[in-house]
Symmetry: none
Subunit: 237 residues, 4 copies
DNA sequence: TATGAATGAGCTTTCATTCAT
DNA sequence: CATGAATGAAAGCTCATTCAT
């Protein structure tokens, strides 16, 4: 039973504001009593804390302190710890979609285009480590929260469509082989990059290597592109 | 902070019992058996609970209940919750090593051998979902616990060595290209399989597919082999 | 601790408006009406919520929601939760006084008159269950709030006076015996009815009867009259 | 979700120990680690606190402090605040049953017997003010908790049976009139006493009298007996 | 070896209330 | 007259862990 019923912000209808998380330009020089700003501060703090500590180990107080707001505000805006977590989870997905939406491969040749996308994924994982952390976490929970999201429809990755078109072009040009499912390929591309980041700590300990050094990362990018292109072009002369 | 007088089991020197978790054949009377059996029951329960709930959400009581032992016994045998977690983490690594040790590719031709290893990884993730869960978890913690393990040395995967030899054979036979690092290749192979399992819940929700159906799994195995072989044989005529 | 500048409504001198809670006919413009209406809506909501949930379990928000006003309005009009509760408590007492004032037994013979009053009490409890609830509640608090009421003087029940006069008439006519204290008799009459209502839930559970069925209620009325009249006429031939 | 599952005391099967709340004779001179004693101390404290403050205003800490036990113990033995309240509610009912069971009217003549029972009720309310408080409270909650009690069957008042037999005897002797329902009579007797106690605070404030003075109480006892006997003997010559 | 009793710290959440507009 | 934003205090409950037998 949430405490701020009726008109509490966390109960309000989500207005579409586009996928961007950037706070809208401040019209006035308001410091306090700026609902949007407060909400954004909390969300940003939650992203950092949840990614660093995980859902159960993150204390509401940690988030409040980091956001420099009163604990109560978290409940005011997000209803509960789970509500906050869900909002954060949605945020990282929106970031993903935003990143994937920004790529434009229409002018590239197919091989270049695929390479660009393989790179993009790695860049995304590198730029948004919290995405990796959140996915890890959420999978530990069997995607329990994601499933409940009302914004699920917005999380359809645009890249599969793009991949589909590039594949077609490559096939028409006789560069890529046929019979490749875009979603499968998308997963393969992600896999090669994601696991490298998500398991970097255990792999690092086991192999005694620093997987995150610039050289290692460049190497990995190159390898991933190599792997995927090898796969797509196999037997095409 | 010593929790038990004299030498509590969790303080005793770990005797090497080989990687097997199966309890050794009863040598003495029934009394002695009970201790080992209790420890094993607790560990098995811990593996299940930690994999299902994660470290913080698993309550000592959950484990005790599942193992049908008194809470206190967990402290007797494992010292603390973290001690129990570490033991469980070590157990899944030992299972990994055991599985990887059982493969014998010396009689296969290089391509066959690589394919067998790609399959093996998938089989492992499928047979031991708790391995995937534990790795996910442990990476969320930055491998904090793994790093502390005194058995770290036992966790060196035997597959990298095997891969190294097969690569060499393949290169000598002019089938595989040169300049491929066994550890890098190992990571690539793992990645293609691991992420498919570790992210199965979120991927399932996002794409609305059941990634775990027998057909999907077969397809994935085939694809992974295809990808890796394409990569290794690229440009080799 | 003044909560509102100037003269907030809840600080204004209570103007006598008679015991009626009905809002007086609109004399001026619409604006003024709104204030009274808002206040009345809040009070009515408070009566319902407090009676249903009790003082501590009623949240200011419950009242605000039910009254469809902003939380802040409650503070504006009643100063605090306790202030609101006190106003509600006073309201049920005013209702009691109003009900008791409406009876006219001067034309009845003494027995008839007493019977009418016994009936009246039952009717009151039945019509205003919130009176029963509030009295129960207030007694749990040792009448702490009632004691503080500035309108205490208005709550002197008119029925004791009436009873006194009827008793006298009955005694003069040789129907009723002497030496009966009107207040004592009033309490006896109330008791027979009040406890039946106030304890209806526990009695219902314990005896497995529905005490509120029309038949049960009729029966109880009859019994109460019978009991009181028996008492008053005992030994009068 | 209670924390001490499986074998936590508050989950154990209630063993019938007779209605007495007196702690069993201490076999050894145990001070600490005496489960029964701890449980009893908590219960006694709960009876006092709940009766004095009401359910919502009683803080778990109040009870723990009064019982001089750790807060945690309350959850250990009673599972939750509601569990504790229910236990306390059951306790006052068991006290009621015990009190009512101790009366022996078989040797008295009917009038004497009824008088003794009327007195007994008053004595009960006077000796156990917490009974009055708990009934008041529980009726505010619509008997919600009582209804859930698994010991409900034990709360059938023995007095109704006794009343039934006395009524019969009186009727056979031509002293009491016929057609009187024992349960109805029981309620009437209770009502005359109960409301006097339960509403003593508001009545005291309204009438400016101390209803609890020894004289007032004697007077009330006498009146109640008088009223009930008048009722039963009305018209019997 | 095994177990019931006991503990202290800490976490999420709720609520009445006030600030600022 | 009305409202959204903000706050501090506290309450119930849970958990890992230890004591004592």
């Amino acid at each position: 039973m949430p405490s701020d019923r009726k008109t509490a912000p966390h109960r309000m209808r989500l207005q579409r504001r586009g996928p961007s998380l950037r706070k809208p330009p401040a019209r006035r020089a308001v410091r306090k009593r700026d609902a949007d700003a407060t909400r954004a501060k909390i969300l940003e703090a939650a992203l950092a804390e949840f990614a660093a500590q995980g859902l159960p180990d993150t204390r509401i107080e940690d988030v409040a302190d980091r956001a420099r707001v009163n604990r109560r505000m978290i409940y005011y805006y997000f209803g509960s710890k789970e509500g906050l977590y869900l909002a954060a989870l949605e945020a990282v997905y929106l970031e993903l979609i935003e990143v994937e939406s920004e790529i434009d491969v229409e002018q590239m040749d197919p091989v270049e285009a695929i390479a660009a996308m393989v790179d993009l994924k790695i860049d995304h994982y590198q730029t948004y480590p919290r995405f990796v952390a959140f996915l890890n976490m959420e999978n530990l929970y069997g995607a329990r929260h994601l499933r409940k999201s009302k914004r699920l429809a917005e999380f359809k990755t645009p890249l599969t469509q793009i991949i589909g078109r590039v594949l077609e072009r490559g096939q028409r040009q006789g560069i890529f082989r046929k019979g490749i499912d875009p979603v499968d390929l998308y997963i393969s591309i992600c896999a090669l990059g994601f696991m490298y980041f998500s398991n970097r700590h255990t792999l690092g300990v086991i192999f005694g290597r620093d997987l995150m050094s610039p050289e290692a990362l460049d190497q990995r990018k190159e390898t991933n592109v190599d792997i995927i292109i090898s796969y797509l072009t196999r037997g095409m002369g």
